[in-house]
Chain length 514, copies 2
């Protein structure tokens, strides 16, 4: 047995069963070892940003890590943007990064790079194996690190000679990841805050947005009148008809500050107090009112379900929430397509237990509210702001949940960053319906240009925010990568295309001209 | 005047006139400043790997840096792979990286990241502005660093508040970058090595591969009988009919070692002694024979033209080389297309003073030799092994040299990494003929799998090296991004398509099925 086989065998026995891969020469022994591991699925992605974004989507839905397989420092570099998102999401991810044989490093061959340096800015844990015998243990240490609640990005470096040299297959037992519990003092502070005169918010993020935790939050709301508000960009929000609904904090800072201005207290669970996504001249970064009492009941790494359950008991909450999301979709207005009516049609057709990967940017702000009453579903968002996450995350979610329909709501500008994800959808016949929201623009930047104080931008500035000249034909690109596609321009065309896509298993793309 | 305007004005006056850009919210003031600088061209790329690869290609051809405009740590991360290549090429590149306003960093908003950490593994120089007043000076310091011979990757961080706060427009004079000269001792060691009994090689890289330096190498060869051998992957090789020809070191280590085994001495100019690209079990990393005398006349940062000129004088070389590359292209064999005959047709049709961006991988090994007698041209190669460089480099070369035809020889697998480059070719109407060498495979990895000792790979391993299922349709993808395209399967079809593409100005894509 060589080191690669010991490693892959150990990870496979530890219940890692999926590897998103883009290997090179230095990873060929790892490829061969994956080949020999019957329970390890290998999924080729044609760009590393797809690999890591898929691992993020997989981790959010599976609550366990996929393995990535990446080629030295630059290959890892291509994956860093989506690892930034994964880290912000608290997704479990294990990156397996090949390197030159250790004795080869001193020659500074062309691909030699400081891989640990590449890995550190986007990893919670970084390790390098010390020998062939150590390779499996290093991989298992990375796996343990990735499982620290709610999930972490762990990266380990596998030198080629450690992969091909002889090794034994010694496994280590994996301790169950058990998150710390909220402190009693923080619990009492939360109880006290909930008794404030004036409106109180429970500000929820991370694992507090799962159905079970939201149920407890709903009980607390029933007992105290607290409002439930979620992060603007949540890793995974379980919502839809019959679940406890939450309000979503607005994106733009001044709107968010206005939204929060009357709260006497804000109790955070699974989230830090909200801040502005970007800074703007003369506008505040901190969004909570100065007069509000801020309580951190449970930071992200603290057990959110336990904290909310105990808080519900402390406030003598009723057994059930009073408010559950009613079913229903608002009727669209027929005519030319726009994000609002697109969202209404989507709400009316969403399958039970679907998954939405939302990188719809400006268009998404219209679609999210009107889909609240759709059948229960999971909504995945862009947690780290590094665009190019939506299509890869859809790949990963579809792999993690093969029996659930995935709907990728994808803005055109950000979709181009990792467009190669479409090919993997086709190869793996993933059940993903991609809806490209084509407005021919980095629309958000046209808004932001004004918001940062740029007056009368000229044609050169505006050209940097414009995606026409040439217009991108997503149908053509999609079909070039093997995903059947169509273009729609009206509400009725969209409805027909959506029904068709949802009624068939496998990848489809709808280019929605909005 | 704000900091952004002071910065862009100073860089513009220092002769930086091109910015490859993919900005976000935190860079809007920089966009506005570029808008106001009449001599600064702004070129939008739809992915950061295209931005940085274009800057690499531009730097190689212009011998001065383009500016890149990138969005915080993750945006920079997407550009790291091609910056690794640029650094290995010795290309001058100045990266301008936006960041949050300094006072916003403490809130750890979603896009907050360790940008210096991202930058260090791929930069020769990293700086962060200290204030709005310091921003222009920081940019100029990066510019100076980028111009250190033969060129460096310099990255500077521009916090948003430094861009929008008031500043004065103080410029600093730029000292001319003057590279160090070869030491007299090294010169005498080279003279002594050239007098060895037995064959001697001049091993050439970096700036030693420009026409003027090769002319001097040719004089030395005429005087001493030394053979001229170039790096396997050179940043920019000036070759073609009438120029001094060089042999190219084979890629695979054992072939390279065999190639070098009889040399009594190897004199390196602009290059380090050759090493194997990857390590393989039981095969040597070091390629020079143990018995050979190794002399480093000029490392990469030492003036190569000066070193070769002085060496030619020391060996009393004749005024002219004896050997110049004769013109001519070997005749192709009609029939189904293959890389060798594709290369022969290309050689017969190459325009005078063309530029070839070669990321053709396995196919390129056939095309390079048969194009030796084509009209004089520049040949750009993948210096750092981080694939996805060819199409972006073609973008940059075409921007740097608008009067020269650029031919991108692009393997299908690596082309997918930065396929978004096609859109920029269309938007800027760049005179690039892209030839996709479509073999439906990461062909090199099928070879490497065996070379690292993997026997009898199974279907799962082979699936990770295979690009069929689904087959990629490059014509469809190219047209989707606005570049006219056609597919060819025979030598005669290729000839017609190539003639048509070369006879028209503007981007074209030929999908060559090989």
């Amino acid at each position: 047995m060589n080191g690669a086989e010991a490693l892959i065998g150990a990870l496979s026995r530890a219940n890692v069963d999926t590897c998103f891969a883009n290997p090179g020469t230095s990873e060929m022994q790892l490829v061969a070892a994956i080949d020999k591991a019957p329970d390890m699925r290998a999924i080729l992605c044609l760009f590393e940003g797809v690999v890591t974004g898929a691992a993020d989507g997989y981790g959010r839905m599976a609550d366990k890590p996929a393995l990535t397989l990446l080629h030295l420092g630059p290959g890892f570099g291509n994956g860093t943007a989506n690892l930034h998102n994964a880290r912000r999401a608290g997704s479990p991810v294990v990156n397996m990064i090949g390197d030159h044989a250790t004795y080869h490093l001193k020659y500074d061959a062309p691909l030699t790079a400081d891989i640990e340096g590449f890995a550190k800015p986007v990893s919670d844990w970084v390790g390098t194996s010390a020998s062939a015998a150590d390779l499996a243990a290093t991989g298992l240490a990375a796996l343990r690190a990735s499982l620290v609640y709610p999930g972490q990005v762990a990266s380990f470096i596998a030198p080629a000679d450690h992969a091909w040299d002889e090794a034994n297959g010694a496994d280590e037992a994996l301790p169950t990841a058990s998150p710390p519990k909220a402190l009693d003092d923080d619990l009492q502070a939360a109880v006290s805050a909930l008794r404030q005169n004036g409106p109180v918010a429970l500000y929820l993020g991370g694992r507090a947005l799962r159905e079970d935790a939201l149920f407890q939050a709903g009980r607390i709301a029933a007992a105290t009148g607290a409002r439930l508000i979620c992060e603007t960009f949540a890793a995974r929000l379980q919502r839809g008809a019959g679940r406890v609904p939450v309000e979503r904090l607005p994106y733009f800072g001044e709107q968010a500050a206005d939204y929060l201005k009357d709260f006497a207290a804000i109790v955070c669970v699974g989230a830090k107090p909200p801040v502005s996504f970007f800074a703007y001249p003369g506008k505040p970064s901190w969004l909570s009112p100065e007069t509000a009492e801020l309580v951190s009941l449970a930071e992200r790494h603290v057990d959110a379900l336990d904290a909310l359950t105990r808080l519900a008991e402390e406030v003598a909450a009723p057994a059930e929430p009073h408010t559950l999301q009613p079913a229903g979709a608002p009727p669209p207005e027929e005519g030319p397509l726009n994000p609002l009516d697109l969202g209404k049609v989507l709400a009316a057709h969403m399958p039970e237990n679907g998954i939405v990967s939302d990188e719809a940017a400006t268009a998404g702000l219209f679609i999210f509210p009107v889909t609240a009453g759709a059948p229960r579903h999971d909504w995945l968002m862009l947690t780290g702001g590094a665009i190019g996450q939506g299509l890869p995350a859809a790949v990963g979610a579809a792999v993690a949940c093969p029996d659930r329909k995935v709907i990728a709501l994808q803005a055109d500008g950000s979709g181009m960053y990792t467009v190669q994800a479409l090919w993997t959808m086709a190869r793996e016949n993933l059940d993903v319906t991609t809806i490209i929201l084509n407005n021919g623009s980095y629309a958000i930047l046209n808004i932001e240009l004004q918001r940062v104080g740029v007056e009368n931008p000229g044609t050169k500035a505006l050209s940097l925010l414009d995606l026409t000249n040439p217009a991108i034909n997503w149908v053509s690109i999609s079909e070039g990568m093997g995903v059947p596609a169509c273009r729609v321009t009206t509400v009725s065309e969209f409805r027909l295309a959506l029904e068709d896509a949802l009624n068939h298993r496998g990848p489809r793309l709808i280019e929605a001209m909005i």
